[in-house]
């Protein structure tokens, strides 16, 4: 029997604000346990939350990027449940009035675009981290209170690959907007997935299970693959799917049951009395909107037309906002955008991956790259020299014309100088000259190589070939 799979995702994204959601504690990662804490984020008696407005702005930006409706009136609510990592034993979140309603993210399925609908985006506070030691447990509250944006999708995905692609697309959009680092190792982006299957032909969704705390896109992919197979097996054996929460074990590659959800947990939501409702000034919201970056897909299309690049190039360049910014920074100054693109996709990316650094850390500025391309185009240097100059700039920065001059790397196009090199090469290699004259046309390449060696790579190769052939004709 064939089954239709329905997958929905709740993606939690830590926003990259300087301070926590409701206090002024630092949000930095990796500090010793319980050093980024205060009475507010530890839930001490009498402490009160104060909203981080920057987190609200970031959440609204995310909503704008995916076409959400931005709520003029939103509020925070308390969600009550007891857990040691929750300082107040209620989480401040948004229940029925989130900042962003609706929205959509596009992914490609079999070469065709598919829309994944987003239900809402709301803002809440992250919880602490339980730690277990031999014979005791502890809680690190450094993470507690970091602003956490939750993006809830409709169950629109029908395969683990689609879920993976949706996560990738979300990450691209979020990093484009510069509101989160989306670093999966540091737990910036985590997700819960829910998944159900139903026999083909059945319209209502099957019973869903929820998989909690998937810390990477790969984990989401594998957990879903396992879970779908497990559900199929249950149904084919004549069984029924139990609505429950399951945990993914990345070591065994299996999901296992955490607790059966007989009915929804009663979180006893009610409006947070310590915070006033948020009435967003729409003029301010429009001001934020005007600062929005272009969506990756839109930018890709524009780059194709504006710079006359192949679709493949544009796709690579927009994969990361900073990379696209770098490319455009150079291409805008250049008469040869395709050459810029070639440089970025080969030399630049290779250097970044070798050194494991970000494009923003590259010492070769976009302007320098565009100048380097011009030097090649006007034949001041050849490609070999250009790569040398690029390597120098990677180490020390600087601008290419200066480096070429300093190091005497300019291409030699002087007839007299080249003439002398060519004659010397012919005199030192009479056998090659004879071979050429005897019909072995490839022998000319050897002689070109000799000339280039003598000129330390600076001779204009076209001139060398022309002169050699002229002289050997006679």
């Amino acid at each position: 029997m064939n089954y239709i799979v329905s997958i929905g995702l709740e993606v939690h994204v830590q926003l990259r604000t300087k301070s926590k959601m409701f206090c002024s504690c630092d949000t930095g990662y990796g500090a010793p346990p319980n050093t980024h804490v205060c009475p507010v984020c530890l839930g001490y008696p009498g402490a009160m939350p104060v909203m981080n407005k920057e987190a609200i702005r970031m959440t609204v930006l995310a909503g704008m990027m995916i076409g959400s409706e931005i709520s003029t009136y939103s509020k925070f609510d308390r969600k009550s449940y007891f857990y040691p990592d929750m300082p107040k034993n209620y989480q401040i979140t948004q229940y029925d009035k989130p900042f962003c309603d609706g929205g959509a993210v596009e992914i490609m399925v079999d070469g065709k675009p598919k829309t994944i609908n987003v239900t809402r985006i709301h803002l809440e506070e992250d919880v602490g981290k339980n730690m277990h030691f031999r014979g005791s447990s502890g809680v690190d509250f450094n993470r507690a209170g970091i602003p956490l944006m939750e993006i809830v999708s409709e169950p629109d995905m029908s395969s683990p690959q689609e879920a993976y692609d949706y996560l990738t697309a979300l990450k691209q959009i979020i990093t484009y907007t510069d509101i989160s680092n989306c670093n999966q190792e540091e737990g910036n982006m985590r997700c819960d997935v829910n998944c159900s299957i139903r026999p083909e032909g059945q319209t209502e969704l099957g019973t869903k299970t929820e998989l909690k705390n998937l810390n990477s896109f790969k984990a989401a992919f594998h957990a879903l693959e396992y879970e779908i197979a497990r559900q199929k097996e249950v149904l084919e054996a004549g069984g029924e799917i139990v609505q429950e929460t399951r945990r993914w074990d990345p070591d065994t590659f299996e999901t296992y049951s955490m607790r059966v959800k007989e009915k929804a947990h009663d979180y006893r939501y009610f409006p947070e009395p310590d915070l006033m409702p948020v009435v967003l000034d729409m003029e301010l919201v429009e001001e934020w909107r005007s600062g929005l970056p272009e969506l990756p897909e839109v930018r890709k299309a524009r780059i194709i037309t504006q710079y006359g690049l192949p679709e493949y190039d544009a796709g690579v360049l927009v994969s990361e906002k900073a990379l696209a910014d770098y490319f455009e920074g150079a291409a805008e100054l250049s008469k040869n955008p395709k050459a810029i693109s070639n440089w970025v996709m080969t030399e630049v990316l290779r250097f970044l991956s070798e050194k494991e650094i970000e494009i923003t850390e590259l010492k070769v500025m976009p302007k320098a790259l565009s100048e380097l391309v011009s030097l090649v185009d006007d034949k001041t240097i050849n490609m070999t020299t250009a790569k040398e100059v690029f390597a120098i700039m990677c180490e020390k920065g600087g601008e290419p014309a200066g480096i070429v001059k300093e190091q005497g790397l300019a291409q030699v196009s002087d007839d007299g100088v080249i003439d002398a090199f060519v004659k010397q090469a012919m005199a030192e290699n009479p056998k090659s000259v004879e071979d050429y004259k005897g019909g072995n046309k490839a022998a000319v390449q050897f002689l070109v190589g000799q000339v280039m060696r003598m000129s330390k790579g600076k001779a204009n190769p076209q001139m060398v070939v022309g002169l050699l052939m002229d002289l050997m004709k006679g």
Binding site: G46, M48, P49, S80, F82, P84, P87, F270, P273, D274
Partner: protein
């Protein structure tokens, strides 16, 4: 030394200090001596930190001789045990906060500290401010200085008893449904509940966040005005604090009430009200008329729903506010738990008293899915109607006059097994919290059995000057009230 502590006011103490009649250190020693004399009987304090108070007093004296001033420089004040003072305990009258030391100052405390106030000790209270008798404290029962067999009221009963028994010059209380005004009335003190948002709640351990407010319990209206003024103001740590101008409350208090319109809300003069209370309040009303006020009867028609509305909202908020007391991070942790859930259960079972448990269960119930609309949501709607009732009468009235409670202080142990009867005693006070307006309790009479009766003066939100003017003018015309017998012993 010629200072009579039992009737010493804040203003009196400031005059004595600036006139060089005494030092702050002497003042603190005298007050501590009064505490030593009487507190075994009264039970106003959970703890007194004499050394720390003397240290602050000496610092105040040094500051004064260095020519520095402060609006409360050197004046010792009792603090209700629900306000965080850095380095001190803060039990909230509960076993569950045993061993907890505040790592920070509440904003109101920081403001008092900045003006040079000295913090004497921690005043007893009903556990987590839940109660109107101070019998719900896990530490001790506080007795009414006027009659030790009677309750001092609550939940700020320790604060009111301390002021009435001469064990403090003034005190801080908190008022969620009458917890400043009612004990002030029972103990013959002045009690001010400022408007919601007037004084930052940061550092006040929350009972019901949308109702709680810090305020002073003092020996006269002018002192209450001064303390309120010092603590007022918007605070970036409390989003519900309001950026309203702070009038010079303590200085500009006239002696008559010409041109003032005062309303008498008929719903507050309930059937079954104590005769002495009715007589006392009506005599005060007449006094205000003599002072030039126009008196008119008004109606607040939704008053009859106020008590049930209050108990739904207050318990709902409390059920979440008190969830943090779990034994994980501070305070008491029960022994012998096998897992976190067991630890929560045992810690909370051992740490909370019966009334707190009752209210947590009530609050959990009214927020439960399926009941939320019928209880919490309906209560919020009624709350709006109650607020609108006040807005309407304040169109024509500068303030309202009413009793604080239907009866004077009752005997310790009375009604203890009948929480519903106890809750009904809050009928005249909970409305001000629900509406966010300000209220003042001023002693106005003595019952035949020798217990004080309070006059309640209610004013529009952020119009503290209205009620303080009426209170002060009335207080001047009323003349001195007697002192409790216990002070003469």
């Amino acid at each position: 030394m010629g200072i009579e502590i039992s009737s010493l006011t804040v203003h009196g103490a400031l005059d004595a200090l600036s006139g060089g009649e005494c030092s702050s250190e002497e003042l603190v020693r005298d007050v501590v001596a009064e505490i030593a004399k009487r507190d075994a009987e009264v039970g106003a304090y959970v703890s007194v930190d004499e050394e720390l108070a003397l240290e602050q007093a000496r610092a105040a004296d040094a500051a004064r001789s260095a020519g520095k001033c402060g609006r409360l420089l050197g004046v010792p004040i009792a603090i209700k045990d629900v306000l965080n003072v850095e380095g001190q305990s803060c039990t909230c009258g509960s076993k569950i906060l045993e061993g907890y030391t505040s790592p920070y100052d509440a904003t109101a405390i920081a403001k008092l500290r900045a003006e040079g106030a000295v913090f004497l000790g921690r005043a007893n209270m009903d556990e987590f401010a839940m109660g109107s008798t101070t019998q719900n404290s896990a530490y001790k029962v506080t007795h009414n200085p006027w009659n030790l067999d009677c309750v001092p009221g609550g939940s700020s009963g320790g604060s009111a008893a301390a002021v009435a028994a001469g064990e403090a010059i003034a005190a801080l209380g908190t008022d969620t449904g009458g917890s400043i005004r009612q004990p002030a009335s029972f103990c013959g003190c002045v009690g001010l509940k400022p408007s919601y948002g007037r004084i930052s709640r940061y550092g006040l351990v929350a009972f019901a966040s949308s109702l709680d407010q810090i305020g002073p319990i003092t020996k006269n209206v002018r002192d209450a005005a001064l303390l309120c003024e010092v603590m007022s103001g918007v605070d970036k740590m409390d989003s519900s604090s309001m950026d309203e101008p702070i009038p010079q409350l303590a200085v500009d208090l006239p002696a008559d009430l010409k041109g003032v319109t005062l309303g008498l809300p008929k719903e507050y003069f309930v059937d079954g009200m104590d005769d002495d209370v009715r007589r006392g309040v009506m005599a005060a009303v007449e006094k205000c008329r003599e002072l030039g006020a126009e008196i008119k009867e008004v109606s607040l028609p939704h008053t009859k729903y106020a008590v049930s509305t209050y108990y739904i909202i207050a318990t709902a908020e409390a059920s979440a506010n008190l969830a943090r007391f779990d034994g994980v991070r501070y305070g008491k942790r029960a022994e012998g738990a096998t897992d976190p859930i067991d630890m929560y259960g045992k810690t909370r079972a051992e740490g909370f008293g019966a009334e707190v448990k009752r209210r947590i269960i009530l609050g959990t119930y009214v927020l439960s899915s399926g009941y939320y609309d019928a209880y919490y949501l309906s209560a919020q709607k009624v709350r709006t109607l109650i607020r609108q009732d006040f807005e309407k009468v304040f169109e024509d009235c500068d303030a309202l006059l009413a009793p604080v409670t239907p009866s004077p202080a009752y005997r310790i142990g009375e009604n203890l097994d009948d929480p519903l009867q106890m809750y009904l005693g809050d009928i005249c006070t909970v409305t001000a919290n629900l509406a966010g307006i300000c209220g003042l309790s001023v002693p106005c009479a003595m019952t035949e059995s020798g217990l004080p009766v309070g006059l309640q003066i209610l004013g529009p939100a952020f119009k503290e000057e209205n009620i303080l003017k009426v209170g002060h003018a009335y207080e001047q015309a009323r003349g001195d009230m007697p002192l409790p017998e216990i002070l003469k012993r």
